[in-house]
Amino acid sequence: MADYILEAENLNYAYPDGTQALRNLCIQIPKGRKTAVLGSNGAGKSTLFLHFNGILKPQSGTVRFDGKEIRYDRKPLLELRKNVGIVFQDPDSQLFSASVYQEISFGPLNLGLPEQTVRDRVEQAMTATGINELKDKPTHMLSYGQKKRVTIADILAMEPQALICDEPTAWLDPKYAKQTVQLFNEISRNGTTIILSTHDVNLAYSWADYIVILSDGRVIGEGTPDSIFTNDDLIRGADLEKPWLVDVYEILAERGCIAANMPLPRDKEDLLKLMDCHDKSGGEQENYDYSTVGNARRERNKLSARCKGL
């Protein structure tokens, strides 16, 4: 068993019109984790994903799945596509059927599963994505967010080892985006590797275990969210911004409102706890633990008091 589910080595790819989309790209995606691929528009995220699924063949370099190099013959390709599923960015290009049920049954049927298994998987995928009540609706009558869920169910029904999602939260309203992220967390719980691309640094920071930054067809940085987002040069070089949490944390630490050299807070609650703890111990905490929870309202009051003091 390899530690990395998908690896690419010295990948080069140019589109027929001459656009060099990937340049000597090297990447390793850890197995069973949540990876976010960050990069501005045109960085090469979608192109990279198409290589992971064997749709595009590198002009030079290699792609490995589960430690084994990808072979581009019919059989091994089908096997690869069974294990690596892509949810495409534009649902209207992925949904080919007007019927939600037919649409989801397509993938598992191609795996050669018996009819009853396919039906079970379609039901499971619809339940997981919360689209059971859309079963009888035609895809052209769905909202954008609903279509997006159907495209995720499409891939879930194939039960891949790695689920790739190209810009899953682009165009989604905050509520749907949050639900989608929760859905990914649930999927990841049963061991599925999840890879998503985004240019939303806040999402990547609080969701991912591992972050890869792509710029101009190259990987210019990779690592844990903490290490990536405290590297100012890297963030600037990739035309990205700092997540607001890191920003606020650094400002507070600079002003002495909060202890520096702490593990970075991953969400708002973490930040509030950090501030609360700093108050109690008078600014001298050594072994800090986020689980020292205080009263939520009191924390909020403290925050507002602090903000006034800033």
Binding site: L50, N53, I55, R74, L78, R81, K82, G85, I86, F88, D90, D92, S93, Q94, L95, F96, S97, A98, S99, Y101, Q102, E103, S105, F106, G107, L109, N110, L111, E115, V118, R119, V122, K135, D136, K137, P138, T139, H140, M141, D154, I155, M158
Partner: protein, 263 residues
């Protein structure tokens, strides 16, 4: 057309097995076409109106509007049959006519009867098709075609065309809005130009979409055939008995009338 599609997904017969609905519509249509007595056509028209408005719950106003679409078209067609031309002169079979330099143009009893019969027959057949398209969504029709072992290429095409009609329409709508918000349709000249540009843009987009679709299908293991499963419908014995009763009543009535006419 779009309106029909909307009703197909939202009517009281939506969850009836599509094969039952298709069977009902098709058998009735064949009976209507097979027997030449106008009474049968009247019966079929009334039966289908009752099924569409009464059972499926399509508003009467909508149904009348839909029926009026082929109505004018059929009327014109029937008129050309009703009018007879002859050089033999007017006899007892003629209802009215004008003779100009030996050629008589006018209406005969026979011609009128044929035209009337044809008109009713077509209207009856049309109402059968309306029943099917107002109660059965296109995807379920293709599911029926799959069951009837119609070649898969034909079914796949029907499915894809149906799906992408809506994607295309949406795209065209977006382009139209963006054009008209910039005065693209302010005058006849700019309208022509905008329309041309929209057509070109649609063509390019269609090409792009088909490429993306192929990629997306391939990534899910597409190898040349689109295999899908339709949801399972429950067969209702009651419905089948009801359909059998209605159809055999219609058939017996038709046969009796036909025999009576000959005798």
């Amino acid at each position: 057309m779009l309106n029909i599609d909307g009703f197909a997904y939202n009517n009281r017969l939506r969850h009836v097995h599509p094969l039952e609905k298709a069977g009902f519509a098709m058998i009735t249509m064949f009976l209507c076409l097979g027997f030449s007595l106008p009474v049968i056509s009247y019966l079929v028209i009334i039966l289908m109106a009752a099924a569409i408005v009464g059972c499926a719950g399509i508003p009467l106003k909508i149904y009348l509007k839909l029926m009026s679409l082929p109505f004018t078209f059929l009327l014109i067609g029937a008129l050309t049959i009703a009018v007879s031309v002859t050089t033999q002169g007017v006899d007892a079979g003629w209802l009215a006519g004008i003779t100009v330099s030996g050629i008589t143009v006018g209406l005969t009893y026979n011609g009128l009867a044929t035209a009337g019969g044809l008109f009713c027959k077509s209207l009856g057949a049309v109402s059968c098709l309306y029943f099917l398209s107002l109660t059965t969504p296109a995807v379920e029709m293709t599911a029926v075609m799959r069951k009837l072992k119609i070649p898969s290429l034909f079914i796949e095409l029907t499915d894809l065309v149906y799906r992408f009609i809506f994607v295309m329409l949406e795209t065209a709508d977006d382009i139209y809005i963006s054009q008209s918000s910039r005065w693209g349709y302010a005058s006849l000249k700019t309208s022509m130009k905008s329309l041309g540009q929209m057509t070109a843009a649609l063509f390019v987009k269609a090409l792009h979409r088909s490429r993306m679709l192929f990629i997306a299908l391939s990534s899910r293991g597409y190898t040349g055939q689109i295999n899908v499963l339709a949801p399972e419908y429950t067969v209702s014995v009651n419905n089948i008995i009801l359909i059998a009763v209605i159809e055999s009543t219609l058939l017996i009535t038709a046969v009796l009338l036909e025999v009576g006419k000959i005798g």
